[in-house]
């Protein structure tokens, strides 16, 4: 059993750096959860897939699932509260300090680099989450089938503008057929 305070603090740290929404912290979350043995190797991909089947931000959902897995319902509450708390505090601070903040030149020039660096981090998250985290050889049936489903989902979203729920359902069915 993981301690509730450890879950709370680790997810609070993750929440603090989750610029650009939850996708940028997926790789970080995996490293933290596995190094503290809250999850077994390979379990993370499954958990995030479960998180993807629920509404709401994927990182918050994943935090809830990891907390639940590590320490039951108390763990789920601790991890979720931890990842949400920095957002709450920072937004209260921003809302109370000034709304005009975003016209300031210094803020604009720091957002200039921040957006770029977060783009790179999310790209890393996608690659890491998708293909780099397991140490098995790259050209397996697993990788090829995952690539096929990923390509199909991309076409479904971009070309046919399908709703994410449809994409998740269809890829689940495709998984049953392919794996």
């Amino acid at each position: 059993m993981a301690s509730l305070s450890a879950l709370f603090i680790v997810f609070m740290k993750i929440g603090l750096v989750s610029f650009g929404g939850g996708y940028s912290v997926i790789a970080l979350m995996e490293r933290e959860a596995i190094s503290r043995s809250w999850l077994a190797e390979g379990q993370f991909q499954e958990l995030v897939s479960v998180a993807g089947t629920a509404p709401g931000p994927i990182a918050t959902n994943a935090a809830t699932l990891i907390g639940y897995d590590a320490a039951g319902i108390g763990g789920a509450i601790a991890a979720t509260a931890g990842i949400v708390l920095p957002s709450l505090l920072i937004m209260i601070l921003l809302a109370s300090v000034c709304l005009r903040l975003f016209d300031k030149k210094l803020v604009k020039s720091s957002l200039y680099g921040l957006r770029a660096v977060v783009t790179g981090i999310i790209a890393y998250s996608a690659l890491h989450f998708g293909f780099l985290s397991h140490r098995t050889s790259f050209f397996t049936w697993q990788t090829i089938a995952t690539l096929m489903i990923c390509a199909g989902a991309l076409i479904g979203i971009v070309r046919f503008k399908l709703h994410p729920v449809m994409i998740v359902l269809a890829s689940g069915l495709a998984g049953i057929v392919l794996f």
Partner: protein, 211 residues
């Protein structure tokens, strides 16, 4: 006493409005922005369209999901700190309950081969959703050589070294600020945002990088 009761009603209203918006955010926060506008601006009149635009743009730049951030901001503007807590609790609770139920369901059927295969398929779809987020973000964030280099450097550093993610973020912000300052010293016009076509300026249009 009357004012106290009014306040409690307001907290409850904030909670319930965001409780209803929360589960509609399937596949990321940007999906709920139109729903939020309808509830907050049109139905409740809590914010003007301009304030809402500010709220969303600040929410998209702070750490965390844009939905939860916007809820905190709006809750604070409407009813102070307890309002922010009520709004965020409302936003988080429905998905929290759904995820806990899913987890229970998953642990009951974890040994089923079909469920494991379905999850492997969904893994592929989640990768696609993250790639879409990358493209959307790249479209607004990477518009000159500096931003492209910073993004590539972040990807490279994280892939091939064990450098801390926070250090990468701080480095990116620092390089961006230095680049803007140097360009201004050299007399080059420094853009810090992608220029949007003028027709977009009329309506409430949000950049596409919100996730």
């Amino acid at each position: 006493m009357v004012r106290m009761r009014e306040k409690v009603v307001l907290f409850y209203r904030l909670f319930s409005v965001f409780f209803r918006i929360g589960p509609s955010t399937f596949g990321g926060g940007y999906a709920m922005i139109p729903i939020m506008e309808k509830e907050i601006i049109v139905k409740r009149g809590w914010l003007t369209p301009e304030e809402m635009g500010n709220a969303i743009s600040i929410a998209g730049s702070a750490p965390g999901g844009v939905g939860i951030n916007a809820a905190a901001f709006i809750g604070y503007r409407v009813a102070g700190m307890p309002g922010a807590v009520a709004a965020v609790a409302g936003m988080t609770m429905p998905t929290f309950i759904i995820v806990c139920l899913l987890s229970l369901f998953y642990s009951l059927f974890a040994h089923q081969a079909k469920l494991a295969a379905a999850l492997k398929g969904i893994h592929g779809a989640v990768i696609a959703l993250i790639f879409i987020a990358v493209f959307k973000m790249a479209k607004t964030a990477l518009f000159d050589r500096t931003t492209k280099l910073v993004a590539a450097a972040a990807l490279g550093l994280l892939s091939f070294t064990s450098v801390n993610q926070l250090a990468v973020i701080i480095g990116g912000i620092g390089i961006g600020m230095i680049a803007v300052a140097v360009k201004e010293k050299l007399g080059i016009r420094a853009r810090t945002e992608k220029e949007s076509p003028p027709r977009q300026a009329q309506a409430l249009v949000y950049p596409e990088y919100y996730i």
